[in-house]
Symmetry: C2
Subunit: 327 residues, 2 copies
């Protein structure tokens, strides 16, 4: 396929929206931004063998490339609107491309986001996505908004994606012993690695309620550390409160589980802070958006993220950040 | 350098604007779009060894990565506003990064465009840029707007970037004989290849005057072909009217020169169509914006781009499109 055939193949399937004046096919796209909204922009690139294992199914690569970007919009409390796709692929494979688009567009459809442009180049497999969202002026959920005494919350469960990589032998297990491929259903963990669910509805619900939010791409300790730094505060986490999926709990002992939850990346859950008075409201938002949330700690004076176990003894993960594996 | 150090190095140098609510450093950037403007978005990725020779100076790589994107905004008649940068680099080299940023930010400064976000990944050298521009509603210069009888114009000169690649031995010379490295000053041609000047001011001036526009990244024949297809028309070009730089004219015979001008890519000049009644106005815009323009043909019935020489004999280039070279 020449570049133009590739683009035509993408264009013919790209979803649009009423606010798209000009989509794929000119030098640039043109869209209308409502006068009463701010524009939210972010971009993330996934490289094969760095951000996903080389043999990941093309459907999942397409899904994940959009999901990690929508997750950033979710962390701002923004409503997704439009995206562009820069696709670098090594060869001609229409079957691969169609399957990739199946995954990308399945998620795009769920969030009514239009694919308005992009480019295709020849090279090692790499997918760059830029997403655009909308929010009411001044309402962005920033990293810098956390306040002393805020509860710290996290959506769904933590550590599943990292657990999948450990069981697949793709991550440096390091201190993580106890990975039991017989006990732990790899398929469920792998689903979390390959098809993360951006928490867009939760993020939208938290606007005006949460003080700060971030999505967890590099690991809870590391990402909450960004909130601490931006807000000039510290955080104390109750490590036994960190939510674990049944699959994670089955396959890993307590130490390994805690390490995966504290430092495993690629889950794309939201971590947010909110005043204690908002607990009931947050529980209601969780129910309305179908996104479980768990209170895992609170913002304190200081600069660091600290952990305590059920006996109030300090707990520190053996590593605090997630280095994306390499195939 | 870890990813966060890289980002901090970029953030510390990134220019902002008054309409940037939140720049680099959160999950996403937030900007304000004026209520009386449409938003123009495009994205282009450059891969080392495909879109620029492997040993291109980092300053020039940074410059060109932004330039090719601004050129797309120019072709729409849009005013540049904000950009994001996705940088995939193979290793740690702060000197390389600073020089790359010198080039990127030099051009950004010329066009008062803010760098509001992006990401860095480890991988083969690849630079993805998304640019955002603004224009009055309904005023975009589309490919589809050309009308029967329109003049066809092009900015500055054509074929220089391709000539540089031929002289460097980086392009398949094919039919291009007569490349004379002694006669032709490679440095001048190389400057055109490495530091293309996006014709932003010209594009802005042409809003409301030109009927259609495109930037020439793949070669005149190929890119004007997109205008023909989108507008349902054909084009006749006077091949001896195609503007040549002194450096190109010195180093190549007529056949080689014509081929480079007709099919050489990477010049990032604007090709646009306009009614004959606008000639004086277009000449004035050219003077005001310091951008030479040349009338090179007209839009006719049909579907193809055709060439005629000074004797009105048909002329067809040996190739009509530009395939980016590979190192």
């Amino acid at each position: 396929m020449a570049e133009f055939d590739l683009i035509e193949r993408i264009r013919s399937r790209a979803p649009s929206r009423a606010d798209v004046v000009l989509g794929i096919g000119d030098d640039a796209a043109v869209v209308r931004v409502p006068a009463d909204r701010e524009l939210v922009i972010c971009t993330d690139t996934l490289n094969a063998g760095v951000h996903f294992p080389l043999h990941t199914a093309p459907f999942d690569i397409g899904w994940k490339a959009l999901a990690v970007n929508l997750s950033d919009l979710a962390a701002m409390g923004a409503q997704p609107a439009w995206c562009t796709l820069s696709l670098s692929i090594p060869g001609d494979d229409p079957v691969w491309l169609d399957s990739f688009l199946d995954g990308f567009l399945a998620l795009a459809g769920q969030h009514a986001i239009a694919l308005i442009g992009g480019d295709t180049t020849r090279g090692p497999l790499s997918i760059g996505v830029t997403v655009h969202g909308l929010l009411e002026p001044g309402r962005a959920l920033r990293r810098s908004g956390a306040q002393l005494g805020d509860d710290i919350w996290v959506s769904c469960t933590l550590g599943d994606a990292a657990a999948a990589l450990v069981l697949m032998g793709k991550a440096d297990a390091g201190a993580i012993a106890g990975g039991d491929t017989n006990a732990s259903p790899l398929a469920e963990l792998r689903e979390r690695l390959d098809r993360p669910q951006p928490r867009v509805a939760l993020g939208l619900g938290l606007v005006g309620v949460a003080h700060a939010a971030i999505d967890i791409s590099d690991g809870l300790w590391s990402d909450l550390g960004h909130v601490c730094k931006a807000s000039g505060l510290g955080a104390v986490l109750e490590v036994d409160a960190l939510p674990a999926s049944p699959a994670l709990a089955l396959g890993f002992d307590t130490t390994a589980r805690r390490t995966l939850q504290a430092s495993g990346g690629d889950d794309y859950e939201l971590c947010f802070t909110a005043p204690a008075g908002a607990r009931a409201q947050i529980e209601a938002i969780a129910v309305q958006t179908g996104t479980p949330v768990t209170r895992i700690g609170r913002m304190v004076a200081g600069t660091q993220v600290a952990g305590v176990d059920a006996d109030d003894a300090p707990w520190v993960p053996e590593r605090t950040g997630w280095v994306h594996f390499s195939d």
